[in-house]
Every structure is written in structure tokens, then in C-alpha cells.
Assembly symmetry: C2
Homo-oligomer: 172 residues x 2
Amino acid sequence: MKSVKLSPLKTISKGEMLLSQGEIANYGYLVKKGCLKSYTIDAAGKEHIVQFAPENWMISDLDSFTNRVPSLVFIEAIENSEYIPLSKSDFGAVNELEKEAVVEIANKYRNNLIAANKRIIGLLSATAEQRYLAFTDTYPTLIQRLPLKLIASYIGVTPEYLSDIRRKIAKK
Amino acid sequence: MKSVKLSPLKTISKGEMLLSQGEIANYGYLVKKGCLKSYTIDAAGKEHIVQFAPENWMISDLDSFTNRVPSLVFIEAIENSEYIPLSKSDFGAVNELEKEAVVEIANKYRNNLIAANKRIIGLLSATAEQRYLAFTDTYPTLIQRLPLKLIASYIGVTPEYLSDIRRKIAKK
DNA sequence: AATTAAAATTAAGGTATCTTAAGAAATGAA
DNA sequence: TTCATTTCTTAAGATACCTTAATTTTAATT
């Protein structure tokens, strides 16, 4: 029995990449400082942000990491950052983990799933303005920290349109 | 130590409801026959389908079930169905479960999370036509079984527009 | 501080998708 | 089989959001 073994802290500069679309994700990344993002590039060449990972968030392509299929996303630093890479062997096979560790992992997945479902509901049922306001509500600290164009990409609109939205909100 | 205890099979008619928006979800439902759906109703009164649950799928509002917060969704039968309700006490506290059961649960959450992330990517980056084609690809059996308007609601378009999309595809 | 590059704003015109509405087709009930 | 109800289709007009492009503001670099 063993718990998760930690690798040494690594550093990465803004703009550098840890994973590319189509590659196999051999690591998950636990961010200790700074911020990473994962994003797809669609058929039309446009970028869409799947996840932000500021301090103490984990980021990867879970499908690629788990099942060794090609990744759908790129992972890139949006600030100079520090992170711990976690490989499958760092985790060990699931049956070598203590039950407490498995419970912890299950809770993480569950919380992520709950958040993902909320995001789906928002994308299906809310206007761009409502999604922006929900984002500011849910991630108030990220608003200060991230450029508008990244937030636009996350909520699913163009930066130009998010700029319009902000102006309309300000006028109220 | 114990594994999950099963309650007796129940039946439900098309159109009947198992959970309403705003209520606490005391159960998850394991569908054995037929099909259930979960959906929100947005500020404008429109319905948006979050999940379909045909045979051997589980459906609930996970946040509500886990954290006893008000549900975001309704759960309703879209066919005459049979299901097994699972309460928290049916599961038992997590620390009373065997490790194998926890691993199984973690795997379920993980697979659901992977699917949810793919759906998010689709909603962010694909056109309605692409999302429809992806749906037919991913859930070929549901296409035969579900009315167009429910599929439209799931992929995030109006039934009228999905009808247009089908016509355009047929013309090719 | 000056220069360059990146991000944000603004505006005009365009497109995907929605709304409304009416009729046709399919399904279910009597 | 008929009637009623729901689902699907079609089309015209409306709107949310996008594209392009030019300008301003902010941030990064020398």
C-alpha cells in the first residue's frame, strides 16, 4: 500500500506548452503557483478554453491520461508558473492505493463532474451575459487576473462581444 | 464492510416525474428498462436536456444528492420505464464501503467527467450541425428511439432548426 | 522614457440560430 | 377507423452573436 508520491516542483514560463492536441498525456499537472490553461483549437482554427488551473488546481486531459488516447487539448502556461507533474506511476496502480486515497480521488472526480454539469447547463440555457456574470460570481479572483480574451474564450464568445457585454453592464 | 444494497424494481409511466427543480435529490435512479431524462427550465421557460438515461444508466442531480442542495434539474420518464432507486443509505457511508466499490464509483465518475468535458468542448467549438452528427455517432441507438425535439434540446438548438439541419444533411 | 507588442474598445455589416405561425405527418386514444 | 394530440416541417422575419477592421489603451521590452 502506498499513497501518492510527489515529484519535484518544476517551473514554466508564460506561453510555454506542456501538452499538445493529439499527443498522449503522460502527466497530470498540479499547479502550485501561477496559472495554466487547457484549450482546443477547432476546425476553423479558433481557440476554446476548457479549463483554467490556478494555484492548487490539477490539469490534464483526463481521457488521454487514463486511456492513452490522443489528447483533445493543449496545456499551456498563461503566467510564469510552478507545478508538480504527476505520472501514472507516481499514482501507482489503483489497487496499490490506500482506500482513503481512492476516496479522495473519487471526491475530486465527483466535484469536477458537478462543476462540468453546471457549465453544460449554462452553455445550454444562459445568454452570454448571464454566463459572464456567473463566471464573475464563481471565479471572482480570476476576473482580476485573466485577460478578457481568455474569459471570453472560456464562456464561449468572442472578445469583441464580451467587450460589448461589459459596456452594456456598465451602463446600467 | 458492505457493498451496495439493491432496492426493489419500480415502474413509472411516460411523463411522470421523479424529481423537481428546487427539491433535494434523495435518490439516484438506476434505469433497468425504458428511458428517463433530466432537464432544466431556464429563465425564459425553455427546457434543456442535461442527460438521457436509457437501460443501465444512472441518473440524478449529483450535487443535490451529495450535498443536499436544491436540484437544478427535473427527472422525468420519457418512456414507460423500470428503475431501482438508490438512496444514500443504500450506498452506506463511503468509509463503510469496500475499496473495490469505491474504485468502481471513482471509475464511473471519471468516465462521466470525460464525457461531460467532451460535451463542453462540443458546445464551445462545434456548430449545431456538427453537434448533431456527433450525437448520432455517439448515441446511434438513441436516435431511433427519441423524438427529434428531445435531441434538439440536448444538443442545444430548437426543434425547428434541427429539422432544417436534417433537411440540409439529406440534400447532400 | 521610448518603442513595440498585446489587449481592449468601438462600429458596421454578416450569419447562425431563434421566434412565430401555420400546415402536414405521425402517434395515441376512443 | 376516426378523432385528438403530439411531433415534425416549412418559411419569413427577428436577434444574438460573429467577422472584419480601425483605433485606443495597456502592458512588455529595450
